[in-house]
């Protein structure tokens, strides 16, 4: 409130001063042109005029912001401040290169650039926010007010911000294009100047506008469609990739041109580095997620509705009951296909046990002992299991009571029952111990190795190469080093793709072998009657786990987290707390009704 008052006073004072200066000049000279000369000749008057200009710019900016965005969210504001800080620093660095061109016009252009930039950022944030807010308000209004007329009216109201947003995006795109164009022509006609920087900045802004617009369109389609639109995430990933590529190319070009004409543009290094990193990540994401989703579609077995009906099956991703459309991962965890798909677009691991699905892509058949003859023959030839994931580790912060330990134990059990002949020592110890206090670390054996098939070729592609990160602020690096760095990044990406292709080859070969194997031995396997042992075993494990929890909890109550306690036992001095909680609960209960 106070800063607002101060800003208001500042603006008012500036207006008063300006009118005083202008009035004074006019009073002295009586005519328009001489008054202007009078003002420009006097330094104090000019200072007042500059301040006035600054205030006007701020006011216009405020007005535009109000017009296009309304009230800013706290997060948006924070974001804006943070990014402007970087933008100002980097442009100041850019000034040092072009100090000869320094002029009021230059400052004006820079201010304009900063304004447009901040509008791009705001538009970006707003489009991200738009993905959720209209849906929510609709949902709730639809629930509370059930009259069709009201619904229609609300729909119209909620369209207004979207119309404004699309208008803004069009405007920004057009402005970016205009400025790029003018910078281009100015550079062509007058030779390279500071216009080069502006042209480049606007070109980057243009890619950002394109990115935001595509996102905006995707969100709009998603909101309008009645069914969840699963392809959206894929489109988003690819948009990110293409825009990232464009940006990297732009930055590369800019660096080259600048290095040839002036000096190496130091101010562009940070954004260049960030862009390259983002592009690399986008590329990696696209490749890995495609691979994981492919694996899911082709390798992992569908879970039949009967199987789902037999077990307690809540999809851990969406917390909803699974009735159909579920897949079983190699680790035996079951999820909705669609949920898994969107998760694989982020990470290629099992959500429950973090098994890396790209490293163990073979499908998991129902547990059964392999044919003894083949097993003996293969027992020695079985390759050493790849380095186990640190899955057995406990988080630092979480006392083990709260750990989702159940799936992991189930796993260890599956693995040990699966590989009866070649079971590792650690997994058989799970079965032997009467009450496992905690899941044994590294009890996890990769299921694919549980049954025999010819060992994979000796060469197994190395895990993705880790790229050494350059120093944070690129201090003490010469231009050559930086250029070399960019080259190295590209080379790494290429290597990675090659590596992934190799992996794919191996996987395909493995799948082929699996198919051959299962057709050859299929009849024998499906007549074996080991299937029912699995649920029994899981039940046993569950019991054991329950007991383990009980045992775990008892010492915990004495030293660790407070044991369950009735609310009446709250001490006297905690009355405020109790009051607060009561209020809170009261507040929640009506909400809860409306939420249902």
């Amino acid at each position: 409130m106070q800063t607002k008052m101060r800003a208001l006073l500042f603006a008012l004072g500036s207006f008063l001063l300006t009118s005083a200066v202008v009035g004074h000049a006019y009073y002295q000279r009586k005519q328009f042109y001489p008054s202007v000369v009078f003002i420009t000749k006097s330094n104090p008057s000019m200072a007042v005029m500059y301040t006035q200009g600054f205030v006007l710019v701020l006011l216009v900016g405020k007005l535009m912001r109000k017009l296009f965005f309304g009230q800013l969210h706290a997060a948006e504001f924070e974001h804006l401040i943070e990014r402007s800080w970087y933008a100002v620093t980097e442009t100041c660095l850019a000034f040092t290169v072009f100090r000869d061109d320094f002029s009021p016009k230059f400052v004006a252009l820079f201010t304009l650039l900063l304004f447009l930039k901040s509008f791009h950022w705001l538009a970006e944030d707003r489009v991200d926010f738009m993905e959720r807010s209209p849906v929510i308000t609709w949902v709730f209004h639809l629930r509370i007010l059930c009259k069709i007329l009201v619904q229609k009216f609300l729909r119209k109201i909620h369209l207004i911000p979207r119309v404004i947003l699309s208008a803004l995006l069009t405007l920004l795109g057009a402005l970016d294009y205009l400025f790029v164009n003018s910078a281009y022509h100015s550079t062509l006609s007058k030779g390279p100047s500071v216009q080069l920087v502006f042209g480049f900045e606007y070109a980057i802004l243009l890619t950002i506008t394109t990115n935001i617009s595509i996102k905006y369109i995707l969100h709009t389609i998603d909101i309008e469609s009645e069914n969840p639109w699963e392809a959206k995430a894929v489109y988003l990933l690819h948009t990110e990739l293409i825009v990232g590529f464009l940006k990297v190319v732009l930055y590369g070009l800019f660096m080259l041109i600048m290095a040839r004409i002036h000096t190496f543009p130091l101010f562009a290094i940070r954004p260049m580095y960030l862009t390259t990193r983002a592009f690399k990540r986008a590329l990696q994401d696209v490749i890995m997620s495609r691979r994981a989703i492919r694996n899911m579609n082709h390798l992992y077995p569908d879970v039949t509705p009967e199987e789902l009906a037999n077990s307690d099956s809540t999809c851990i991703i969406c917390r909803e009951e699974m009735t159909s459309g579920a897949k079983r991962l190699p680790c035996n965890h079951i999820f909705h296909t669609l949920c898994l798909r969107s998760w694989f677009q982020r990470q290629q691991t099992c959500p429950t046990c973090r098994l890396d699905v790209l490293q163990t892509a073979q499908p998991q058949a129902p547990p059964r002992p392999p044919p003894p003859a083949a097993n003996n023959a293969q027992a020695d030839a079985r390759p050493a299991p790849p380095p186990a994931q640190p899955m057995g580790h406990r988080p630092f912060h979480m006392p083990h009571v709260w750990m989702p330990a159940a799936p992991r134990q189930g796993n260890a059990g599956d693995a040990s029952s699966d590989s009866t002949a070649g079971a590792s020592a650690s997994s058989s110890s799970t079965q032997a111990g009467p009450i496992p206090m905690m899941p044994p670390p590294f009890a996890f054996s990769f299921p694919a190795h549980g049954f025999p098939f010819p060992p994979p070729p000796p060469f197994f592609p190395p895990p993705p190469i880790s790229v050494p990160l350059p120093p944070a602020n690129f201090e003490g690096m010469t231009r050559e080093e930086l250029e070399a760095l960019v080259g190295v990044e590209e080379e790494n990406i290429r290597n990675r793709i090659r590596c992934l292709r190799n992996i794919q080859c191996f996987l395909d070969a493995a799948v082929l072998q699996m198919h051959q194997y299962s057709t050859a031995t299929g009849r024998h396997i499906f007549t074996s009657n080991d299937e029912p042992t699995l649920p029994n075993f899981e039940g046993l494990l569950k019991n054991l786990q329950e007991e383990a929890r009980k045992v775990d909890k008892e010492p915990e109550g004495a030293a660790g987290f407070s044991p369950p306690q009735a609310p009446e036992e709250i001490p006297e001095e905690d009355k405020e707390a109790a009051e607060l909680r009561k209020l809170r609960l009261q507040r929640f209960s009506p909400n809860d009704d409306s939420a249902k």
Binding site: A75, E131, R132, S133, V135, I136, V139, F140, D222, P228, K232, A233, I316, I317, C318, R319, E320, C339, S342, W343, Q345, R346, Q347, T349, P351, T352, R354, Q389, P390, H393, P395, F396, H397, M398, P399, W402, P404, A559, G560, F561, S562, P564, Q565, P571, E573, D574, E576, A577, L580, R581, R584, L585, R587, F588, S589, N591, D592, S594, A595, K596
Partner: protein
């Protein structure tokens, strides 16, 4: 995407209201926006934070539960794993790949298995047992290691503060 997030948040909210864990209350700030929650966490017993009621807010991304929420205490806090501005820095609130401290292995990171309840319980146990390996507040971490008595005094002061007893 957001619809999924909304449905899961509603399910979690229902679960938290029907079957609330001891010492924790959480729910959306208002019914217009289910992506911002507030939570009240009571300090665990037998720790310097015992008896305190600490308000915090949670911000959920539109792709929840694929990405973790952000959590920030809205009261003054002094703890090795809480930034001076109240943001909570524990491993399950980070997705693998973003690692502000460099001390967390990816097995402890966010995954859809986690939930609001698990986050809040982790925060409770973080209050009880700070992890000074990945410190967000260096002063607090140092004091917690070297001068436990003073740390406890500050924590007690904060507790009284949250109860409005100062």
């Amino acid at each position: 995407m957001a619809r999924y997030a909304l449905r899961r948040l509603m399910a979690e909210y229902k679960q938290l209201t029907v079957n609330p864990p001891e010492g924790i209350i959480a729910g959306p700030m208002n019914e217009e926006n289910f992506f911002e929650w507030e939570a009240l966490i009571t300090g665990p017993e037998d720790t310097p934070f015992e008896g305190g009621v600490f308000p915090a807010k949670l911000q959920f991304p539109s792709d929840y539960p694929l990405s973790p929420p952000k959590m920030q205490f809205t009261c003054e806090m002094f703890h090795p794993n809480i930034y001076p501005d109240g943001r909570v820095c524990i491993s399950i609130l980070h997705s693998p790949g973003d690692d502000p401290t460099g001390y967390e292995s990816s097995s402890e990171r966010w995954s859809p298995v986690q939930s609001v309840e698990k986050i809040l319980l982790s925060v409770v146990s973080m209050l009880a047992e700070p992890n000074d390996e990945s410190a967000a507040n260096l002063d607090a971490a140092k004091m917690w290691r070297d001068d436990r008595q003073q740390f406890n005094q500050i924590a007690q002061k904060l507790v009284r503060h949250t109860l409005g007893l100062q």
